[in-house]
Each structure stands twice: as C-alpha cells, then as structure tokens.
Point group: C2
Chain length 446, copies 2
C-alpha cells in the first residue's frame, strides 16, 4: 500500500503540524489525538452540547463539542463547509463505528456564504430530479450518490479485470466518424474543419476490425445518441462497455464471456461499502437461455395474444420474462437468443439452420436488457450481400470491409450498458439518477 | 484462471472435434497432436518443404509442410488468410520457442482474393505513414503495432490500478458541453438538437467538481481538440488520463501521486512481451524537480540567450532539459514546477510567496511534456477574481462555480497524455503511429 499522500505532509492546525486521519480509521486511534479533514455534513445543537458530523471519503465521523465559544461559532457555519478538526478519539458505543471525537479544535478551510440549495444531509434527498441535476455540484455529494458512483467505478473495474485476465486488450477507438455507421438515425453532427463528422454511437465497427489484430479487445467509453425522446431512460451520452473476440464457434462462446464478466463485476461491486442497501446478486455458472421464438410463444400464451410476428421484445415483455425467469430458474439473469434477423444490424450472423433467426442475444437483468451481443458475419462476401440486401451504400464502409477482405475469423462480442445495470441494482427511478452530469434533449449543463 | 472460451467447444477439423492450442502453448504439447488457429503470417516455399508461420494472439508458430498436395494448395493462399491447422508438435531447437508442427492438416477459415496492400510480415513495415493509416484494418495487424497497443493497454491498467488502490474512484464526465470551457479556441461544435454544443477538450471542470463528492477521482477518456496544425504531434482526438484529489498541501502532493502512477504504469508495461526492444525505464522514488525560473536561467546560460521573460518552455528547451536531467540525475523523468501564472489557465493556484509563479508542474519524459498538473484555486472568491482579471464571462461557469460556493478543500490534479508517453517509449516518429485510427485536419477515416 502506498501512503496517504496528504499525510506525508504536515497540516498546521493552530500552529501544530499533524497528519490526517480518515473517519473510518478512528477506531484504531482510541485515546489518541487525531486530525480529521472533511465536510460539515450536519450538526445538531443540543442544550449543552453539539454533535457535528464530519464527512470525508471514507465515511462520517461524530464530533462532540462542549466548548460554548466553539458551539457559538459553529452555529453560523453552513452545511458543506470544509473543516479541519483536531481532537481526542474516545470510545462511544452509541456513536457510529463506536467512536467519537471530543474536545475538538476546529479550523475553517472553506465555507459558503449560505446554506446549499439541496439538503444532502437527509437520508434521502427530498428534492425534485430537476433540482438535483441543476445543482449537481452539491447533490452529487449525497452519500447515496457517492455510493452509486462507487458501484459504477467497481463495475468498470470488474469488467476490465475479468477481460484482461482472459487475454483481452483494451483499445480506444475514434468518436468522430466520417459516416454515420448504422443507418444515420439519431446521430449528432459535428463541424469538422468545415465538413460534417458524426459522433460514434458505438465502437462496433472498430472493435471488429481490431479482432483482426488482437483477437480479443475491449473498450470502455462514451457513446452518443441524439435521442429526441424525453423519458426516464433516454440520454444523449452513455457509457458503453464493449468486448469483441475472435475464433468463436458461435454466440454461445460470447455469452460465456459475458457471464464471467458479469460475475467479475458483481464481485467488485459486492465490496463497495454502500450507504443504502443494495442487493448484489450472484451470477449462476450457466445463465438460463431461451430462444426468441420460444419466448414469444410463452408470452403469447400468457398474455393471450398472437405475438408470432413480433420482431422484438417490448419493455413489458422483458419485464414478464424477468419474472418468469425468477420463478422458473430462481435467478435475475436471462439470455434471450435468436432475435429475428430483420431487427438486428447488418453485421449480424444468421442462425445457420434457419436464417429468419440470428446468432444474437440480449441479456435481461430483472426484466431489463442490459447487454446486446452476438456472432458477426466474418466473410467479405457475406457483408457485401447483407449490405446489398438492406440497400446500404458500401462506400462509407470501405475501411471496415477491408478487415474482412484479407481473412477474419468467426467472431462476436457484446455491449453492456453499465448505467442501466446500476439503475436496476439501485432501483433508481430515472437513469439520470445514476449518471453524474446527464445530457438529454433538454439538458446540456452543468 | 478462466477457460479459453473457444476451447470449451470443439472445432471440427476434417470431421474430428479438437480443442484450440495457442502458439505459445506449443512447448508443453511436444509429441501431441494439437489444433492451431490463426492468420497466415508468412510462408517460405523451399525445394521440398514449406515453412508456414501462423500468427495468433499469443505469438507465431512454425508449421512444416512436406505433403506436395498441401504445398501446392498453400501456394495460392495469400498472406492473412485465417487457417485451422492440426498436426504434431515436434521439438526443433532451430525453430521459434524450440518447437514446430509437422504433418499438418489445414482447413481454410477465410481468405482474401489477393495479397494485402501492406506487407505486415516484414520486421518493419516498409510503407508510407499515409498508406499504413489508409489501410489500418491490415496495418494494425503488424506485430509491432500489436505490441504498441498492448503497451498502451498496460499503461491504462497501471494507471487505474494504482489510483484505485489509493482510494480514487473512476468517473465518466460529459463530452458534450454547453460552453467552451477554456477560452473557446480549437473547440469542435456539435449540432445539439438545433443549438450549439462543444466537444470537451478535457474533463478538468468536472473532475474538480467531483472532488467535492469523492475527494479522489480519475477518468480515462477521449478529449477533443480542433487542431488546425498538420504536424507529427497534432491530432483531433487523444486519450486523456486524468486524476484529481482533495486535501492536498500543495502541488507536491499531486506530484507524489503522479510519480506513483507512473511507477505503476511502467510495472505493467514491463510485463508486455513486445515484438521489438522497448526500454521501460524505472521511475525514481523522488523525481528530480526544477523551478521554471531556475530552468530558464540554466537554459539562458547554456544557449547564450536572455529567456527571463519567456512565458513557457519551447520544445527545444524541453529536449535540452531532458538531456540535462539525464546527465545530472541519471533519470529520464523531470518535474518542472512554478510555470508563470500568465500562461496557465484561470483555475491555477498561484505560488503563495510570489504570485508571478504558480503551484503548477509539467512532467518531462526524455525531454517531452507528458503530464501537466498543479494545485487549483479552491475559494469561490478567488475564482471570481481570477475570471474577472482575465475578463472571462462567469455565466457559463455557474454549475462549476457552485462547487466552490459551498466548501471545497485545497485540491489539485494532473492530466497524462498516454499516447505521447508511448511515442517516447517506442521512439515512434509520429504520434499517429501509436494510435489506432487517428483523426486530424486531413483524416476522418477509416
């Protein structure tokens, strides 16, 4: 372990050099004087004593103030002031973590002139979503939002570590494209030195090209979609966790990797100390699988509708399948495979024995699709035929098709919407509640 | 270790199910029959025998072909065809890794109709940069380019692991901004539902806001700069490795983190098996430091010029300092601190005892700046004064300034240009030689 960088230097408190202690480290300092630094999370002024809650990156420390001068001074200090507090650590069974600080000497590092516009000290923020987003600089300090971000960070960590351990190489692909890759709907246009460029909606074509060089690749990066819908799940920028691999038999090899990646992500997330109860589910060794045609037959029976010609699952279908999976297999995870070719993109590999269906899959988690993937075409001639059949001009795909002109193995991959996963895990009503600074048709700041 | 996903399924070769072996695993299979899958890297047809080099993600295997029918068939197979090759592993001291395959049975998986436009089997690609970039889908398969990408992937891995182990949380910030944050020069404009948005040149303002919530944050993501210069070092999109931390004494705490991050990156890169000799230098426990004013005095003496009023280091100055550092301290790494305030951005913290200078730093590696960082202002009033002094309108900064309105600790951070680092390590002439699909004023594809 490396040192606490700020601890290697002395912070003078009333002239005395001192090393910083984190809130969660207090139990190992009972009886000693320590220096805490953090934000004034909340204070309760009682008749003869004040309780001050000081928040730092590790947690919240309780500080007991009895000195009347200090209490009077604190009365004017707004929430979120940054303080350096030096005092003695005392065992106190009734306090958080069983310790509190007594006889504090307090230095103000910085403070606002008034109370923040969002009450982040309450267990649950009582403000409207729009207010929370407008005042993100403060609202994101709420312990629940901090926990959500830590879960997201842990999820990325688990994704990367699992893939790196399995021979995948991380790549960074261009976000500025000459041509809108998959049809051109909902694409943002950029003024690129006087000509149009388009923001990448996914790294799809580039990660496939890179299979030719590295066999197994992954990328974590922003993806952009000009979503005209103003709903709880549509945003303009999201985080896409992508993987692609060569020398597969079919999409089941990709599903096996996706399963292991999810298990690695859950393992990292389970270690996050969250401020609210978050149930991190286990991932079964083999995630149950149902073919799209069988799913539609099930749904048709259950709902009393003829769904045989439906090209895709509606959100209510996904929710029903999630419940069905939980009841039937006792797990929150379900692969739906074989989606109709006509609803999947041009690079999709058909099901060899029946080309109405595809070698593709979605992964539903608690009834919401969080992963889309599948086997891709790998023969140049198949690409030319697929583009021709869909009447897509090949010109903008020249640099992509070249990868298939000179030998590409059977390959496939998947994209994971990590913010959707975190939303399902935390039960957030709106995808914006698990993003830091969401972007949508209405919102471009802060 | 997880399984080789494609190995869990049988690949039929001439009707026989078989598990895939990687080239580098061959030495542990001497005497056995194995199945290799990979690209036809090169072949040499001798009088009575052919040597076939098969490349997979682990390395290159040598296959000896004596059967005249197979030799005849191979004669028409172009480079980069994808093959499945089954045969016996034989110890052969003269072969790479001391093993080769005999009596192969070969299945063609996919192949091009003709030879690729770039000869990637040569130890060094003999083509022009423009050709390599035009045909990136093939050129990126060259073992040296694969190694470069693996170094870059390892660098990212080391960056993240070091920061995660030290309490940093990964974040993902918006790349679409309402206002051009740092002056507006060289910013790309996006049509955002009919109004202008700007592509982020850095996550600077957002990572600072997030110090208020998480204390220690990092991000790896694309940054965009509309560079009108067509040089070997200017590109429109680059990968920015950013970190920011609270409760620092001054920029030296940030420099200590940057040093440890570099050490972690070098350790991961040293484990990459590279196809060409790359010297991964050690990072000293304490990287030498020189103040900008002292550096300019040194340079002035050495070059016989009066540089006292220079606001920044020119590239030739950085190179000179790199040589001087190597000779004086025996290391490739040098911190230059205290850059003049007038050349640093508005959020820069001045040097407390002399406000002409700043609490900022650059890190030079072999005479090239690869990191820029420093302490930031943390008081709201200081921001208002700094923006006013530079006549910058505060309006677009409202969401940012709010973070400082309600208590922010002293903080700082840095940005690392990882592609510049890899360029220095590999000695690549052009930054485009260490990027997958570079973007510049001329180039927007593939």
């Amino acid at each position: 372990m490396l040192a606490d960088y700020s601890a290697s230097h002395s912070t003078p408190v009333h002239g005395t050099p001192f090393v910083r202690t984190l809130a969660k480290e207090m139990p190992s300092h009972v009886g000693a004087d320590v220096l805490l630094q953090g934000w004034l999370h909340h204070q309760r002024q009682m008749k003869s004593v004040s309780f001050l809650l000081l928040r730092d990156r590790s947690g919240i420390a309780q500080v007991v103030v009895e000195d009347s001068h200090v209490r009077a001074m604190l009365g004017n200090v707004p929430h979120e002031a940054v303080l350096a507090v030096r005092g003695r650590v005392v065992a106190a069974p009734q306090a958080p973590d069983g310790v509190e600080m007594h006889d504090p000497v307090i230095d103000m590092i910085s403070a606002g002139p008034e109370e923040p516009p969002v009450e982040i000290f309450r267990p649950v923020m009582q403000t409207q979503l729009a207010t929370r987003l407008d005042h993100a600089a403060i609202a994101l300090r709420h312990p629940n939002r901090v926990s959500t971000q830590r879960l997201l960070s842990a999820a990325m960590h688990g994704f990367r570590n699992t893939l790196t351990a399995n021979g995948f190489t991380e790549i960074a692909t261009p976000k500025l494209l000459e041509a809108a890759p998959e049809g051109g709907a909902n694409v943002f246009t950029v003024d690129y030195f006087g000509r149009p460029a388009y923001l990448a909606q996914s790294p799809q074509l580039y990660k496939q090209i890179m299979v030719g060089a590295l066999e197994r690749v992954f990328e974590i990066g922003p993806a952009f979609r000009a979503e005209p819908h103003d709903t709880s799940r549509h945003v303009s920028q999201f985080l896409s966790l992508d993987a692609e691999m060569g020398f597969i038999r079919d999409h089941h090899d990709v599903m096996a990797v996706a399963r292991d990646v999810l298990a690695g992500m859950m393992a990292k997330m389970a270690k996050v100390k969250s401020s609210e109860a978050v149930d991190i589910p286990t991932v079964p060794t083999t995630i149950p699988e149902i073919h799209f045609a069988d799913a539609m037959a099930l749904l048709g029976d259950a709902l009393g509708q003829d769904l045989r010609d439906e090209p895709d699952l509606a959100p209510e279908h996904e929710r029903w399948l999630g419940d069905w999976c939980e009841q039937t297999f006792g797990t929150a995870w379900l692969f739906v495979t074989g989606y109709p070719m006509r609803k999947r993109p041009f690079y999709t590999h058909p099901q060899p024995d029946d080309s109405r269906w595809s070698n593709s899959f979605d992964l539903l988690f608690r009834g919401l699709e969080i992963i889309t993937g599948g086997q891709r075409l790998h023969l140049h001639s198949d690409y030319l035929a697929a583009l021709d059949q869909r009447r897509i001009d090949v010109t903008p795909f020249a640099g992509y098709l070249e990868a298939f002109s000179y030998g590409m193995p059977p390959h496939g991959g998947f994209a994971l919407g990590v913010e959707r996963l975190i939303r399902q895990l935390t039960g957030a009503e709106n995808i914006r509640d698990v993003m830091l600074f969401p972007r949508d048709i209405q919102r471009l700041s802060p």
